[in-house]
Amino acid sequence: MADESSRRIMVVDDDVFILEVMEELLEPEGIGVVGAESGDECIAELANGFRGVILMDIMMPGKDGWETIQEMIDRDLLEGNVVAMLTAKDIPDVELDCLKEHVIDYITKPFEADEIVALVKGYLNYLP
């Protein structure tokens, strides 16, 4: 079971509303939320040592979610994190097929509050 110090997640989404909603839902549960509004911000947080659960939006301006994961792999920043994708699409991107070893889940927006809290708590169990 993840200890208290590792109960934190990073939400990577250019939609600030999503970041705020995640904070409101998860911080009362004792889960710290780090917000990143772009793939580059996510990479910077990882380079600064963030390790935890990452909820990654796919469609972002600039570097999208798949490109961000590829950069995490290329720069050896994926190890020690559990990554789930956030998407508004019903049909999964083809990129998932070749990156599926690195993605634990695929969450379709909009999501229910109870659902996202339960999912994130579940992902915390899979941190090293």
């Binding site: 190890e79 097929d97 599926k100 993605v103 695929y106 899979y126």
Partner: protein
Amino acid sequence: MEYSSSLPRDGRTIVVIGSSTGGARTLEVIFSQFPLVDAAVILVQHMPHSMNNALCRHIEEISFMETGIAEDGEAIEHGKVYVAPSDLHLKLIKNRTISLFDDRKVQYVRPSIDVAMTSLERRENDRVAGVILSGMGSDGAEGICHIKSIGGTTYAQALRTCAIHYMPRAAFATGRVDEMLPPEGIRENLIRFAGIL
């Protein structure tokens, strides 16, 4: 949780579960309070290497099954879950011994569900079952066909309950899936199939 190992015997009951993106949610339901069953469970989950130990630890916490990362040359025993390690393919030799090997990825993944399932053999006194959970692609479809062809039992996750339904759909499209079931149904059927130790 507490567990005890089964006594050695001639026949083996083997369950191979194939899981990918979204499958962790389903595993949570299947293994929650999962009893000590009279079968060896092989779990092939597509996941990063750093998740291997945590997955074993979590399944052991929520179930009554002893759980560990499968080791090369290990003889399978009932009452245990063997998690296929990332970056290696897993197959069973004569339905008894785990073999891990480094080979090219199959459908972008290693371990491959198909490789594990197609290694099973029709052997007197052995019973086998295959299960396909949520995931992208079609890994496991060939494996399900094989398990059915050797007299095994096959399940796939009901499409409406999957985060990603492509793998169960591909398995279903082979016409060799006995039942499409929600996670709770898979849990119940596996317990019934294996029997409790």
